[in-house]
C-alpha cells in the first residue's frame, strides 16, 4: 500500500513540495502518517499526544518549507521532528519523578506478541529463553532494532536519530541480533553434544 515505491519517487515528491506544489502534500501525508503514528506510539501510550505532535510536525513542515533543502531526507526529517516533539511534550507533562532526557526514555517494541505469532514450531523452553533475551534488550537497542527492521532505515539514518556515531549504532544492533541468535543456536549445540556423547559411548563400546 505504498505510494512511494523507491528513493527516486521520494526525491521527486520532496522537490515538488519544496517548489510550492501543495497537491503533493496529501501524498506525503498519506505515505508517512501511519508510519509516524506507529513510531510515536513506541514512546508513549498517549495516542492523543502522538496525533497532536504529528499535526505540529506537518504544520511546521509547511511553514518552514523555504528553509528546507532538496537534499534533505524527507522521512528522516519527519521521524526526527516527531521524536523531538514527543520527548519535549513528555518532559513538560511528566512529573518530576519521571526524568526524561534525550538519552533516557522508554521504547516499546511489542516483542512478546511477536513470539506467539512466529514461533509456533518452537518448544516451550526455547520460547521462554527467547522471551528472556528479548526483554533484556535496552530501550536504545529496541529503538535501533525497530528503525532497522520495521522502518528499514540505513545505519547512517539510525545513528542520526539516536544521536550516535555510525559504528555505535551498528554495534548496538549487531549485539542484539547475536543475543537472540545464540538462543536459537543453543538447542542445536545441545543436540550435537548429545550426538557426540552417543558416538563417543558407541566407540567406547566397540573398543
Amino acid at each position: 500500500m505504498s505510494i512511494i515505491e523507491n528513493k527516486s519517487d521520494e526525491r521527486l515528491l520532496w522537490s515538488r513540495f519544496l517548489n510550492g506544489d501543495d497537491q503533493v502534500l496529501s501524498l506525503i501525508y498519506l505515505q508517512y502518517s501511519n508510519s509516524l503514528f506507529d513510531y510515536g506510539c513506541r514512546f508513549t501510550v498517549d495516542k492523543h499526544l502522538v496525533k497532536d505532535c504529528i499535526q505540529e510536525v506537518f504544520c511546521t513542515l509547511i511553514r518552514t518549507r523555504k528553509n528546507l533543502s532538496s537534499t534533505d531526507n524527507i522521512r528522516l526529517y519527519l521521524l526526527q521532528s516527531l521524536k523531538r516533539r514527543i520527548l519535549r511534550d513528555l518532559k513538560s507533562a511528566g512529573s518530576k519523578s519521571m526524568l526524561i532526557n534525550d538519552q533516557e526514555y522508554s521504547f516499546d517494541l511489542l516483542l512478546t506478541e511477536n513470539l506467539d505469532d512466529h514461533l509456533r514450531e518452537l518448544d516451550e523452553e526455547k520460547r521462554e529463553l527467547l522471551a528472556g533475551a528479548m526483554l533484556s534488550l535496552t530501550d536504545r537497542q529496541k529503538e535501533a532494532i525497530y528503525l532497522r527492521f520495521n522502518k528499514g532505515l540505513e545505519y547512517e539514518e539510525i545513528s542520526f536519530l539516536l544521536n550516535l556515531n555510525y559504528q555505535s549504532a551498528r554495534a548496538l544492533i549487531h549485539r542484539a541480533i547475536e543475543k537472540l541468535r545464540d538462543v536459537i543456536h543453543l538447542q542445536e549445540k545441545k543436540v550435537s553434544q548429545i550426538l557426540f556423547a552417543i558416538l563417543f559411548n558407541d566407540s567406547k563400546a566397540v573398543l
Partner: protein, 399 residues
C-alpha cells in the same frame, strides 16, 4: 551474487538489499532472492534463520483508523490554510487594483475560484471512505443510507426524483445552478448509479462519485475517487468529463473503467469501446497539459509522482469483471490480488512473510462467495494457507 556466498544469518541481516526484500520488496527484489535461493541451496538455511530473526524483531504496527487519519489531515489543512489564506487575500487586494486598471474583475474572480476548487479537491481526494458508511448525499445535505451489498440508484430525467433500491425520493426543484449529489460506497459494498442523462456508473468498493442531479452546463462533469466503470450515453453536444485526481477523461459516448484510489500510486484507465481523451498535466515548471487519445483495449497508467503516462494493450474483461461480481487474474502478483479482495470484502489480509506477495495468480474468483471460500480457491493455485486471527484479520502464510 557471489558476495553472499559465505554470509551468516547476521551478515544477511546487515545487508540492506536483504532487508528491503523482507520489509518493502520490489518486484526485482523478489526475483533476485528467489533466484538466489534456487541457485545457492546451501545458503537456504542461513536465509531462513535470518528471516526468523527478522520476524522476531519486526513488530506489528499501530495504525490510524481511516476516519482518524482523515480528521488529522483536516486539522493540518485548516491550521496551515488560515495563514495561507490571509496572505492570499492580501495579494489579491493588490492584484485587484492592477486587474481593475488593466483587465476586468473577472480574472481575479477566476483566480480565486480556482484556488478554492483546488483546496476542496484536495480534501475530496484524501477523504477516505469510512467503514460501513455507504450513502447518497443530496444537494441539501440530506443523506440516504445504502445498506445493501449492491445498491441501485437511478435518477429521473429532470433530476428531481431518484429511486434508491426500491424507495423513491424527491429532491427540491432544480434551479439554474447544478445541484450536486454524491454517492459514497464503503469497502465491502458496490453500487450502480443511473444518472439523469441515462449514463450508467458502476462504483467499486471504497469509491465516491460526485455528480449533478441534472446536467445543465455545456459539459456533463462528474468527479471520482476510487474505481468506477462508465457506460456513457452518447451526446456530441454535451461531452462527458470524469475528473479523477490528477487526470480527466473526456468522452462523447463509450464504455471505460477508471481506477483512482488515493492509496494507489497510479491512476489506471481502461477503454472498452469508443474513443476517449485522457488529459493530465505533466512535470516541470510549466505543467504543460498532455492529451492521450485512447483506443479500445488500451490501458493508460498515470504515475502520480513522476506525472508520466504509460500505455499498453490489455484484455479489457480482466479489468471490468469486478462489476459483475468476479475478479479475473492473469499472472497477477498475489499481493495485488489480495488487495482487491480486501477492498471488496472490507477485511484485512496480512502476509506473514512479504515474499509470499510475489506468487503469480491466474484464474477467476467469484466474489459472491464468502471471503473464506475465496481464500480457499486461491489456496488451490498457490502454495499458501490462511488462518483467522482473534481480531478477525486474516493471516496468510507459506505452506
Amino acid at each position: 551474487m557471489d558476495k553472499y556466498k559465505d554470509y551468516s544469518a547476521i551478515d544477511f541481516l546487515e545487508d540492506s538489499n536483504f532487508l528491503r526484500w523482507l520489509n518493502e520488496p520490489t518486484q526485482e527484489d523478489h526475483d533476485f532472492w528467489n533466484e538466489y535461493v534456487k541457485k545457492h541451496p546451501s545458503q537456504k538455511a542461513k536465509i531462513k534463520e535470518a528471516t526468523l530473526l527478522f520476524n522476531l524483531f519486526h513488530s506489528s504496527e499501530n495504525k490510524l483508523a481511516l476516519p482518524e487519519q482523515y480528521e488529522l489531515w483536516k486539522a493540518i489543512q485548516s491550521e496551515s490554510q488560515t495563514s495561507a489564506k490571509e496572505v492570499f487575500i492580501r495579494i489579491l487586494k493588490y492584484a485587484a487594483v492592477l486587474v481593475l486598471v488593466f483587465l476586468s474583475g473577472a480574472v481575479s474572480y477566476y483566480m480565486y475560484q480556482n484556488a478554492v476548487e483546488r483546496n476542496q479537491y484536495q480534501l475530496a481526494e484524501i477523504n477516505p471512505v469510512v467503514n460501513g458508511e455507504a450513502m447518497v448525499i443530496l444537494a441539501d445535505g440530506s443523506k440516504v443510507s445504502l445498506d445493501k451489498q449492491m445498491s441501485e440508484i437511478s435518477y429521473s430525467t429532470n433530476g428531481r426524483q431518484l429511486i434508491v433500491n426500491n424507495d423513491t425520493i424527491t429532491q427540491k426543484a432544480v434551479t439554474m445552478k447544478e445541484s450536486m449529489n454524491k454517492v459514497i460506497v464503503s469497502y465491502g459494498k458496490k453500487s450502480m448509479v443511473l444518472l439523469s442523462d441515462g449514463t450508467k456508473v458502476w462504483l467499486n468498493a471504497g469509491s465516491q462519485l460526485v455528480y449533478p442531479a441534472v446536467f445543465l452546463k455545456d459539459t456533463r462533469e462528474v468527479a471520482l475517487v476510487g474505481e468506477a466503470f462508465f457506460d456513457v450515453v452518447k451526446n456530441p453536444q454535451k461531452p462527458f468529463i470524469v475528473k479523477a485526481a490528477d487526470v480527466s477523461v473526456q468522452v462523447l459516448g463509450t464504455r471505460f473503467d477508471i481506477s483512482a484510489y488515493p492509496e494507489d500510486k497510479v491512476i489506471q484507465t481502461v477503454l472498452e469501446e469508443g474513443k476517449i481523451n485522457l488529459k493530465y498535466s505533466g512535470d516541470g515548471i510549466f505543467k504543460r497539459d498532455y492529451v492521450v487519445e485512447m483506443v479500445p483495449n488500451q490501458m493508460v497508467e498515470f504515475d502520480k509522482i513522476s506525472r508520466e503516462a504509460n500505455s499498453s494493450t490489455v484484455n479489457v474483461s480482466k479489468f471490468v469483471s469486478w462489476k459483475d461480481g468476479m475478479l479475473e487474474f492473469e499472472k497477477v502478483n498475489l499481493y495485488k490480488a489480495l488487495k482487491q479482495v480486501e477492498r471488496f470484502y472490507n477485511i484485512q489480509i496480512l502476509l506473514e512473510d512479504q515474499s509470499i506477495g510475489s506468487y503469480k495468480l491466474s484464474g477467476k474468483l467469484d466474489l459472491k462467495d464468502e471471503p473464506e471460500k475465496v481464500l480457499n480457491v486461491i489456496k488451490l493455485t498457490v502454495p499458501i494457507d490462511w488462518q483467522r486471527k482473534s481480531n478477525g484479520d486474516f493471516i496468510v502464510f507459506k505452506k
